[in-house]
Symmetry: C2
Subunit: 287 residues, 2 copies
């Protein structure tokens, strides 16, 4: 896993334009938000999903970087004053606090474009598979995925929402890109239809377990580790799993989701062991 992460850090650095390019501020802003010690969960999912179907993970490196670019874009825009108005991200000042709102908006835009440019640069994989990857990542990033989830999140703030709305919000806001990372990692690895279906199911359940755990960490996490103040969801009157179902039931839901994720790839061999380990780690984490 550490090797995997080191590989990703190096690749992210190489796919980002250098910051001595004119006009410096935009390239500095792009690099500031991507190269910030993130968990690299989505890129790791891309690589391990590729490996799980016997694929060559080196071919999935561009996609791994692309999903991190999409993730970084979404965090920059989410933190803007007009949206979540967060001044800090992972314990460091948010992009708009460092570079101003205009450059933060544009840095997000540039990272989203860079994601598709990077996917299109994939080598050694059939072009039609890469196009399918492009289509799925675009769908997960836009109005069929993340953006829609964010809209529902904004509209729900301060309201008590039914469980269906909470689920809709999370399957779109965080779930869609996580699922797409897993499925597209499989596509790059040459997965067949049945394997893609299993990976999609794994991705959905993984995303759910991830989100519930995130909500729990907001309540009982260690601020020094999560990099965000405990209870910030509560203060913003965000709808969360613990708020709707209670802490104990939320923990049970997360564990069940992990079991279901692992069950959905039961037909896979030992190449999928890292996917299994990851599913356990996602609930047993402190950051």
């Amino acid at each position: 896993m550490d090797d995997c992460k080191a590989l990703i850090e190096k690749a992210l650095d190489s796919y980002l334009p250098p910051e001595d390019r004119y006009p410096h501020i935009i390239f500095r802003a792009m690099r500031y938000s991507v190269l910030n010690g993130g968990k690299r969960l989505r890129p790791i999912l891309v690589l391990t999903a590729c490996q799980s179907v016997g694929g060559d993970i080196s071919l999935a490196i561009p996609l791994a970087c692309a999903v991190e670019f999409v993730h970084s874009f979404s965090l920059i825009h989410d933190d803007l004053p007009a949206l979540d108005d967060d001044d800090f991200r992972r314990g460091k000042p948010a992009s708009h606090k460092v570079f101003g709102e205009a450059v933060a908006i544009l840095a997000g835009d540039a990272l989203l474009s860079l994601a598709f440019e990077t996917i299109a640069r994939t080598k050694g994989v059939p072009a039609d598979a890469v196009l399918e990857v492009c289509r799925r990542i675009a769908a997960a990033s836009g109005a069929e995925g993340m953006v829609t989830g964010q809209v529902v999140d904004i509209e729900s703030e301060g309201k008590k929402i039914p469980p269906e709305t909470l689920e809709f919000m999370h399957t779109h806001k965080t779930g869609a890109l996580i699922e797409a990372s897993v499925v597209c990692g499989g596509l790059i690895g040459g997965a067949n239809q049945e394997q893609l279906c299993s990976l999609s199911h794994y991705g959905k359940k993984f995303g759910l377990a991830f989100q519930i755990t995130d909500d729990i960490l907001d309540i009982e996490g260690d601020e020094a580790k999560t990099g965000k103040p405990v209870g910030s969801d509560l203060r913003k009157q965000k709808s969360t799993y613990p708020a709707l179902f209670g802490l104990e039931a939320s923990r049970e839901m997360a564990k069940r989701a992990v079991d279901e994720a692992i069950e959905s790839i039961s037909g896979f061999g030992p190449e999928a062991d890292l996917l299994r380990v990851l599913a356990h780690l996602v609930v047993d984490r402190s950051t």
Copy 2:
């Protein structure tokens, strides 16, 4: 040309998600900014460039819509209070005035994603050509193109900039997407390397003529036709061609650019006549 535009309007409508989908506001915002009576210059360039190399324009429809989605995304974000702070666009309230800043930012994001999803849905064209299109449109939309131009535009406001900076700003802010539209239309149409090179040259000169004319229309255009108040660049202390070179010299520069655009496709047959007509129209326009 009218047939071409009608075809594009119909296709834009069909590629945009319906606005009765939940959550309505984001789909309404996306449609509001795209279906607003724009000139459709970039989609028309895509189709005519495809035709100029003997290609089937029906195969270029997804790309034609995609470049308009990218263009709409850039207008929504440019108009935001943190950027150009424009309350009106083509005589109608800007997206952020109608839907609020948060939804305007997200609608722009969603349109950018939709552009790549739409390109990836191209049928009947070799997948490697479509991937190359995806790569070029992404480069033109992001930090190698539009975004960088916008950053330089913001940094230049209220300053007297040298001609090289003005040129850098425009070749990136408007030129890159116009050139990419022409070149990628050619790629979809099956252009060879020599033709792509000619189309790239045409696109660069076309973009220059377009921008200079835009700057001139800001001074002597008819407000009722352009949809923006006369002299708004002046009031915002924007650097423009007339401000740097004077009106007469700017007009000459635009005409020369048109001649050079037409010259660069002199090797093309009558299939390229529409590209020739367009180059003349771009300086002889009132909107």
